[in-house]
Amino acid sequence: MSMASTSPRRAAVRRTSALDGLLVAAAIGVVALFIVVPLVYVFHAALADGVRGWWAALVRDPDTRHAIWLSLTVAPVAVAINVVFGIAAAWLVARFRFPGRSLLVSLFDVPFSVSPVVAGLALVLIFGRQGLLGPTLAWLDWKVIFAWPGLVIATTFVTLPLVVRELIPVMEATGPDEELAAVTLGASGWQVFTRVTLPNIRWALLHGIVLANARALGEFGAVYVVSGHIAGATDTMPLRVEKLFQEYRTPASMALASVLAGLALVSLVAKFVIERQIAAEHRDLEAVRTTGDAA
């Protein structure tokens, strides 16, 4: 039995042709050239002056310190807005049928298809001093463009599809029955959400948060346009990396770039762990749906 099942596989391995080998080599080559080498080079360049030099480059310059602080505050706010919007929108789309529903789902993808620079310009045209809401904002004395709120809006815009896109398929696969069961058992809307809906979507939600956070930290184009690029005020980490690089301060630029790359690697590990959990939950859902009678 085991012989019979393993021998075809061995045969398949033996039959590996020159073409297969070539394709594998090409794939490894591309990954190495475009992903591994640049990443390793970033860390190599960042640590060119040793760990002390790397640390000094990050903390000595007040503008760099400010950029780190700004990124680490703008990203969580944008992600939080995404979470609220994502849950509400996914719930609407997955639980209700209404005219224009598929159009709405398509609109969620607009931030993916529009160039971030264009998005940034559009935001300037709306929120800028000469923009649509300019007079109102001036009257309220709210500064959006070239200020912190503009960064949040731009970052939210570019990350908008990430959470909702993760949640819709999960909520559709789960279906409304568990929620309805909770209602018939006397649960309030909030209790249904916190005790039934949220636990069912938690991994997908976390997955969306990780992706949105990674994207928010790395966002350059839209933020570049709305920030006005003011060092020590509106420069986020990616903008600061670019500015340092333009000023020929490559070690400092690379040090900050390595922080971004490190955060990306952390996201990648988190994503991997979460995806394993999602696969496990999916198996559970399948098991509960099937008739299979073990007892």
Binding site: T184, L185, A187, E281, A295
Partner: protein, 358 residues
Amino acid sequence: MSLYLRDISKSFGTFRALDRVSLDVHDGGLVALLGPSGSGKTTLLRIIAGLEFPDEGLIEEDGADITQTHARQRGVGFVFQHYALFRHMSVFENVAFGLRVRKVPRAEVTARVEELLRLVRLDGLGGRKPAQLSGGQRQRVALARALAVRPKMLLLDEPFGALDAKVRVELRQWLRRLHDEIGMTSVFVTHDQEEAFELADEVVVMNHGRVEQRGSPTEVFDRPATSFVMDFLGAVNVFHGRVENGRAYWHGIPIDYPEYPHAQAREARVYLRPHELELTADTGEARHDTTSLPASVLRVIRSGAITRVACRPHGSDTELQVDVATEQAGMLALAPGRHVAIKPRRARVFLPGPEYTI
């Protein structure tokens, strides 16, 4: 609790799911809503639960109008078709859910859940997750969860639909005993007539959003009110015949039909159940006998204790199914080509056109 529904209508877009349905369920009754898919039975159940609201009509519970009462306040237990157990919770927490959201003291929750797990014979499995249970066990968890909050009424949507045939029969008998024990008013939806007849005190047959007939299983089966009910409840042979002077004729065999005493002949449909036909060896007398029909055997299909025989009446191109006891089939030495005589022990006549009801 007793329930009274009056002229309930419900549409989804242009589809009329329920069309002026009235129903009453007496206290302690076990009612089956039986019908094909799309007949509106599940919609009716969801309206009773407060998960859907009727476009028109009235729902009364012990005399009080609850038409607009939300599911949360209705106090009914609902068992979903696929059980809808909370996947991320243990069996214990599933059953405890309704008590927890009501802020019942911890000790009381534990006592109640353990009592229910014993009732549904799942004691000791409280720590398991739904995915680790068999289909039958999951169904019983769903039932215990619905019963935990002491509902006034229990509603079950296709309660055995997702189970293996053997488990289904066992659970059905167990549920009937449980109902007799706790005496809770219950309504369940099914498309399986056997399930409805075995479990329910009263069967409501539905079709196209309307109630075709309601009554005890015996009444519905023995005196189907419409041709749909006749057709839906088990296998049946349908033939075109005619009626006149209180009699219908099927291949020249007269069948009493006092509901049509008129002299003018009219087309009618004659319904014959395979087990209500008698098969005898054709001794030649049948040809002269006006109460039996000579036929030849086309096929013999044995399924356990019953053998189904397909016959063709002489001089006809229609086919007729007859059920005989396998033992008798052996005695008659039934085989394709053999000549037999068919005698209807019982037949039902329905006039076509506008649905005829007694």
